[in-house]
C-alpha cells in the first residue's frame, strides 16, 4: 500500500517524504529513473534513496562514478530521447562540476534548436550550511541557478512539499532543479492525508500576519517561523511567505502581502550581493514601492566562505535573532 492510500495523518520526516515521492514516481512512470553517486547500494549520501535499489533494481536506480559532468549530461541526453531522469548530485557544491552541462545544454537546447528539442530532466541536490562542513560543503548557490532562463528552480521547505512537489517537476517539459536544504532532512511531523498534490507554482503564506512580511525559502523557513513566534509574543504580527519556486518567482503573492503589511524582510542563506534576496527586494521596490512604510530589510549570509569553527559559522548564517532584529529595524 502506498502512502497515498493512507487516510490517517502520517508521521514522517522530510527525508522519508522525499523518498516516498521518488518511489511513487518510479512506480507510476517507467520512463523515470534515478541516477547519481551512491544513490543505489549506499542509499544516497543523505539516505534519501535508501531501499529504492532493492525495490526497483539497478536499471532504474543507477549508481554512477564520481563524474558529475558526465552523468548530468547523460541525464540531459536521456531526457532528449524521451526518458524522465531524476539525477541526484550529492551537494550543490559539486554541481559546479556539472554547471556547464546544466547551463550550456539543459537550459539552452530548446532555444538554440529553435524549439525542436526539450529536456524534461529533474536534478535534485542538497544545499546549505549549518553542520560545520566548511567552505567546500556549505554554500547556497540556488540563486545562481535561479538566474538562468530555461530552467525551473524549486526549494521544498516543508514535509508537504518534499512529498508532493516532484510530480510537478516531472510533468515539466523543461529542466527542473530541486534544492533540499541539508538541515531539513531530519525534520519530522505529520503529513495530512487529505493533501495529495501541491501547487508548486505559487509561493505560500505559511503564517498570516498583518505588520510585516518575512519572505524566505528552504532552510531559512523554520528560522523565519521561529522569529514570527517570538515577534508575536512582543505584539508584532509577522506574515511568513515561503517562496517555494525560486524561478519563476511568484511575485504576485509577495507584492500583495507587502501591500497589506507595508513592510518586508527578505531572508536568504546565500550571500547578500547579487542574491535572490536582492532580486526579491528589487521587485518589491519596482512594484510595491508606494505600499512600503519602511525600507526593505535583508538578512543574508555574511560575505565570507563559510568557516568551520562553530561560532563563526553561526555568525555567518542568518539566525532567528537576526531576523527579529531586522524586523525591529523595519517596524520601530
Amino acid at each position: 500500500m502506498s502512502s497515498s492510500d493512507v487516510k490517517q495523518p502520517e508521521r514522517t520526516t522530510y527525508r522519508e517524504a522525499m523518498r516516498e515521492a521518488l518511489r511513487e514516481a518510479l512506480r507510476s512512470d517507467d520512463r523515470v529513473f534515478l541516477m547519481g553517486e551512491d544513490v543505489g547500494r549506499y542509499g544516497g549520501c543523505f539516505g534519501v534513496s535508501l531501499g529504492l535499489l532493492e525495490e526497483f533494481g539497478p536499471e532504474r536506480v543507477r549508481d554512477t562514478p564520481l563524474s558529475e559532468s558526465a552523468f548530468v549530461g547523460a541525464g540531459i541526453g536521456a531526457a532528449l530521447a524521451g526518458m524522465r531522469p531524476i539525477v541526484e548530485i550529492m551537494t550543490v557544491n559539486f554541481s559546479l562540476l556539472a554547471l556547464d552541462q546544466i547551463l550550456n545544454n539543459a537550459a539552452t537546447l530548446r532555444h538554440m534548436s529553435g524549439g525542436q528539442l526539450a529536456v524534461p530532466l529533474v536534478i535534485r541536490m542538497t544545499t546549505g550550511a549549518g553542520r560545520q562542513l566548511a567552505a567546500q560543503h556549505s554554500h547556497s548557490l540556488e540563486g545562481w541557478y535561479a538566474h538562468i532562463p530555461g530552467i525551473r528552480v524549486l526549494a521544498p521547505a516543508t514535509l508537504q512539499d518534499a512529498r508532493h512537489m516532484l510530480p510537478s517537476a516531472l510533468a515539466d517539459p523543461d529542466p527542473v532543479l530541486i534544492f533540499e536544504h541539508g538541515s531539513l532532512y531530519n525534520v519530522s511531523g505529520e503529513l495530512p492525508s487529505t493533501v495529495q498534490t501541491v501547487d508548486a507554482d505559487h509561493a505560500a503564506i505559511c503564517r498570516p500576519g498583518t505588520d510585516i512580511s518575512l519572505i524566505t525559502y528552504g532552510g531559512s523557513l523554520p528560522k523565519a517561523l521561529a522569529a514570527a513566534d517570538e515577534l508575536a509574543t512582543g505584539g508584532i504580527s509577522a506574515e511568513v511567505i515561503d517562496l517555494r519556486t525560486l524561478r519563476p518567482l511568484d511575485h504576485a503573492t509577495v507584492t500583495s502581502s507587502v501591500a497589506r503589511t507595508h513592510r518586508a524582510v527578505v531572508i536568504d542563506e546565500a550571500w547578500r550581493t547579487g542574491s535572490l534576496a536582492a532580486e526579491v527586494s528589487a521587485r518589491i521596490a519596482e512594484d510595491a514601492f508606494y505600499d512600503l512604510d519602511a525600507p526593505v530589510e535583508r538578512v543574508c549570509s555574511a560575505e565570507v566562505p563559510i568557516p568551520y569553527a562553530r561560532q563563526l559559522e553561526e555568525a555567518a548564517l542568518p539566525q532567528t535573532a537576526d531576523i527579529v532584529a531586522a524586523v525591529h529595524g523595519a517596524v520601530d
Binding site: P65, S67, Q132, A134, H137, P307, A315
Partner: protein, 363 residues
C-alpha cells in the same frame, strides 16, 4: 612542443642507488636522526611515524563521539604506509596537495599534531586558524596546499605548482594525493594530460583503497587497472603494495629521482584499504566485515612490525616507550586544543581577500 614519451608500466619498483633526501621537519615530535633506508634504525622510524598517525586518529574518533570535533571527518586508518613512505623522499622544498582524508599526509609532512588537533577543534591555533577543520588542513610554510574536499579538486593545482617550478627552473617536486574515486572525474584526466604534455614535475599518488565512498572500484571504473590507464597519458605509472611502507618508500624514491631529473610526471597507484568507514557519518553497509578483516591482516603497522620481529629488530620495551611518547604527544595536542582560543566573531570577515583584516596570504 614536448616529445611524447612512450607509455609504459613497471610491475615492480626497481632498486635505487641514491641516498635519501632530508625529510621530516624539526617540529615533528618524532624528530628522528637520519638513519639509512633499509636499516633497522630506519624501520623503527617508519614504524613510529605510522603509529603516530594511527594513535592520533584513534583519539579523533573518541573526540568526535564526544562532539569535540565536528563536521565531516575521514580517517586514514589502514593507509598510513602511503603517507609515511611517500614523505620519506620529499624534501621541505617540495609541495604537497592533498584531499579531505589528509590527517596522515599532514602529520607526515611535519605539521605538528597540536596544530592539526587545534584545527579540528576550530581554534585559532589550528593550522588553518580554525577556518578549515578536518578536511582543510593547510600549512603554507611547509608547502602543504591543503586539504581539498572536492574530489579531484587538488589535481589541477598540483600541475600549476609544478608548472611554476618548471618555469623558474626550480628542482622541486609537487606530490599530489587523491583517491581511486577521483579517477572518474574529468579533472584527473585533464590534469594527467596537461602534466604529461608539459613534462611537469608532479608525483601523482593515487590511494586506491578500492572504494569511493560506498561504491567499489569495479562498480565505478570500467577498467580497474589504474596504473595502466595513467600510463596511457604518457606518464610512467605503476602499482605498489600500499600496505608495505618500505615498498612505498622505494617506489617513491624511484619516481622522485626520475621527476627531479626532468622526465616529467609519474603516477604511483598505491593499493591500500581503509579500515574504517568512509567518514564518521557513514554506516559502512556496502562491504563485508570479512573483507575488512582480511585486509586488517595486512595492517601496514603489523606488517612492518612482523618484518622487524623476524629480523630481530623489534625491541618490545622500546616499542612500549615509543607508544607512551606518542600517547603523551597526542594528550598534549588535545590539551592544547582544549585551551586554544576561539576566534571572536567580529573577526568573521577576516581572510576573504588580500585586503581583509588578519590575512597574511601574499602571492
Amino acid at each position: 612542443m614536448s616529445v611524447a614519451r612512450p607509455s609504459r608500466t613497471r610491475k615492480t619498483p626497481a632498486p635505487s642507488k641514491s641516498g635519501r633526501k632530508p625529510t621530516s621537519s624539526k617540529d615533528e615530535a618524532s624528530a628522528r636522526p637520519p638513519s639509512a633506508h633499509g636499516t633497522a634504525g630506519h624501520r623503527k622510524d617508519l614504524l613510529q611515524a605510522m603509529l603516530r598517525v594511527r594513535r592520533f586518529e584513534e583519539r579523533c574518533v573518541e573526540l568526535y563521539s564526544a562532539a569535540k570535533i565536528r563536521g565531516f571527518v575521514h580517517l586514514y586508518i589502514g593507509e598510513e604506509a602511503v603517507a609515511v613512505g611517500v614523505n620519506e623522499y620529499l624534501t621541505p622544498d617540495d609541495a604537497v596537495v592533498s584531499t579531505y582524508r589528509e590527517h596522515g599526509h599532514a602529520l607526515a609532512r611535519g605539521i605538528p599534531a597540536e596544530a592539526v588537533m587545534a584545527e579540528m577543534y576550530g581554534r585559532t591555533t589550528g593550522c588553518s586558524g580554525g577556518r578549515g577543520g578536518s578536511m582543510h588542513l593547510f600549512d603554507a610554510a611547509r608547502r602543504f596546499y591543503g586539504g581539498n574536499a572536492i574530489v579531484a579538486g587538488g589535481l589541477p593545482l598540483a600541475a600549476g605548482l609544478a608548472l611554476a617550478d618548471r618555469m623558474r627552473g626550480q628542482e622541486r617536486v609537487t606530490c599530489c594525493f587523491f583517491g581511486d574515486g577521483a579517477f572518474a572525474e574529468g579533472e584527473f584526466h585533464e590534469t594527467a594530460n596537461l602534466a604529461a604534455l608539459g613534462q611537469l614535475p608532479v608525483l601523482f599518488i593515487c590511494e586506491n583503497n578500492l572504494y569511493a565512498m560506498g561504491t567499489a572500484l569495479e562498480r565505478h571504473e570500467a577498467q580497474t587497472d589504474l596504473a595502466m590507464r595513467s600510463a596511457s597519458y604518457g606518464m610512467i605509472a605503476w602499482a605498489v603494495d600500499g600496505m608495505d611502507v618500505e615498498a612505498v618508500e622505494q617506489a617513491t624514491r624511484k619516481a622522485v629521482e626520475g621527476i627531479r631529473a626532468g622526465t616529467g610526471p609519474d603516477l604511483l597507484e598505491m593499493r591500500t584499504y581503509r579500515f574504517r568507514a568512509h567518514s564518521m557519518y557513514d554506516p559502512d553497509r556496502y562491504r563485508h566485515k570479512a573483507e575488512v578483516e582480511r585486509w586488517k591482516e595486512r595492517d601496514p603497522i603489523l606488517l612492518l612490525a612482523e618484518r622487524m620481529r623476524d629480523n630481530g629488530e623489534l625491541d618490545d620495551k622500546e616499542l612500549a616507550r615509543t607508544e607512551r611518547r606518542i600517547g603523551r604527544e597526542v594528550d598534549h595536542a588535545v590539551e592544547a586544543a582544549e585551551q586554544g582560543p576561539q576566534e571572536p566573531v567580529d573577526h568573521l570577515l577576516h581572510h576573504v581577500t588580500g585586503s581583509s583584516a588578519g590575512t597574511v596570504g601574499r602571492p
